[in-house]
């Protein structure tokens, strides 16, 4: 953290929340420490080398219009200078070796969570352009399936098992850890442990097509009790709404294009193509962290997703206004 403050202040730059600095996990802190170590080494090297070049070029015979005569060879002087150059090379090699050693040590520290026995396991499957999130459970009916919003308990190791349904994506929550590519045909284990509760945004970091720019996700770190409560709620299927407008909305949902792509457990809608909407109302944002989960945003998204994310897989749905309002009311009951 040495340096962010003064430099950012000097440049009047607001790092924003989605930054690799000021992390909330052990992994991010280790990486940030290593970054600053290498940065200051590089800074010193740069200053020294540029000072040398500036001093070397300071006596500058630019006044002469022609070219000066060629200097005679000075083998002895060159040999003496050779000792300086040789020393500089040796210092360079030692510095680089030091960087290598620190790199390997920090890499091991970042990966050290792999030895823990009882991690929270989460399967993340990348789709164009959203994240399918599954909390597997040996008991099949306790498996949680959701999308784009990942809840984790604070202070406990979490492992993400990656996969992709189509192209290469990359899972990157900068406040928490580096990134891991989601490769079709491969599955890898990505470990982290969050120390501070909060909402940490992440984004896809491997170009995956038209809406790569809008493929975000969030990691919500909460106390273990809140996490357990959230998990239990997510397991429940959607109940029948009591409000007549919501009931009408459910009817619209089941008789229009919605059921072709989405699942709402507890109803007839069971398609796995789009995100699971069973607990849509419990999420902070929709459309892969692009829009807030409010009536207006949801309405705009349903009616014309192509306006907001051109090329996305969801089609426009020109519903009648009453139907649209009813559907939104219904969706808001899906807590």
């Amino acid at each position: 953290m040495i340096g962010v403050g003064p430099i950012a202040a000097a440049l009047l730059i607001d790092p924003g929340a989605h930054s690799m600095f000021g992390g909330a996990s052990t992994q991010a802190s280790h990486i940030e420490w290593l970054y600053w170590l290498i940065f200051w080494i590089c800074f010193v090297v740069y200053v020294l080398v540029i000072a040398a070049f500036t001093r070397a070029g300071a006596r500058n015979y630019r006044g002469d219009p022609g070219m000066l005569p060629v200097l005679p060879k000075d083998e002895a002087g060159d040999r003496r200078a050779g000792w300086f150059v040789g020393t500089a090379v040796v210092v360079t090699i030692l510095t680089l070796f030091f960087v290598l050693v620190e790199t390997v040590i920090t890499g091991k520290k970042v990966e050290s969570a792999t030895t823990s026995k009882n991690p929270v396991t989460i399967n993340v499957i990348g789709h164009q352009w959203w994240w399918e999130v599954i909390y597997p459970n040996p008991q099949a009916d306790q498996t949680v399936t959701t999308a784009n919003e990942i809840h984790v308990p604070v202070g406990k190791p979490v492992v993400i098992l990656t996969n992709s349904a189509d192209v290469i994506h990359s899972f990157w929550p900068p406040n928490i850890n580096g990134k891991r590519d989601l490769l079709p045909g491969y599955s890898s284990a990505f470990w982290f442990q969050v120390d501070k509760p909060g909402i940490y945004r992440g984004q896809c970091a491997e170009f995956c097509g038209l809406q790569h720019a809008h493929m975000g996700f969030s990691i919500i770190a909460e106390s273990p009790e809140q996490f357990a409560q959230w998990q239990q709620n997510q397991v429940k299927p959607a109940g029948d709404p009591t409000d007549p407008e919501a009931q009408r909305g459910k009817q619209v949902f089941l008789t229009h294009a919605c059921i072709m792509c989405h699942t709402v457990r507890g109803t007839d809608a069971g398609s796995r193509f789009g995100p699971d909407l069973t607990h849509l109302a419990s999420r902070q944002m929709i459309a892969a962290e692009t829009l807030p989960n409010t009536r207006g945003a949801v309405a705009g998204w349903i009616v014309d997703p192509q306006r907001i994310k051109p090329g996305t897989q969801m089609s426009p749905n020109p519903l009648a206004p009453d139907d649209l309002q009813a559907v939104i009311t219904y969706l808001q009951t899906l807590q």
């Binding site: 079709p184 072709m260 792509c261 193509f273 051109p310 426009p316």
Partner: protein
């Protein structure tokens, strides 16, 4: 040399104005103005001797590789594979042969999808948008080689159980619109 440059500029402009239809990507397609469903004929019988003339279909779906590729994705997602498999048929009739019961023209296939057909073909009207139905139409026609080779999809990134549509030889359609298609 200046004449060469003038020619090069003109050629470039001319080429770019006729931008390639194969590469069109429509994200918010405008639905066709004409109501195809009321004008398509699904029986080969009619009074008089007039041949069956299907209404024209929006060409962007037959000529855009992106649209056909979307059709391939939708074919799997909307579970057409459940009855038609990957074109070989099963519960439903095969789609990669040359026999088209209700016609092989795009408008006929569109009507089949939207209206449903006896003995098990569901109606998808109001369940899928019309432009997606047109995309599926284009893909289904590509299964028997009716689309140009550079527009039809190549092999998919899944287990390959059938040849890619772009390598399928053209199966001249028979059926109620066979007479008009055979002359193509």
């Amino acid at each position: 040399m200046s004449r060469c440059y003038q020619f090069a500029v003109l050629a470039t402009v001319a080429l770019s104005l006729s931008a390639c239809k194969r590469e069109t990507r429509e994200f918010r397609p405008v639905p066709p103005a004409q109501n195809v469903l009321n004008t398509v004929q699904v029986s080969g019988l009619n009074p008089g001797a007039n041949p069956v003339v299907p209404p024209p279909a929006p060409s962007v779906y037959q000529e855009s590789a992106y649209a056909v590729s979307q059709g391939q994705t939708l074919y799997n997602q909307y579970n057409c594979v459940g009855c038609h498999a990957n074109g070989g048929g099963g519960i439903g009739p095969p789609l990669m042969d040359n026999n088209w019961i209700y016609g092989s023209e795009p408008a006929n296939v569109f009507a089949t999808i939207m209206q449903g057909r006896p003995n098990g073909m569901p109606s998808f009207r109001n369940r899928i948008p019309e432009y997606q139905a047109w995309e599926i139409v284009a893909y289904v026609r590509s299964l028997s080689g009716l689309l140009p080779k550079d527009v039809a999809p190549a092999r998919s990134d899944t287990m390959n159980i059938k040849p890619a549509p772009e390598s399928m030889p053209r199966q001249t359609p028979t059926g109620i619109t066979g007479a008009t298609e055979q002359s193509k």
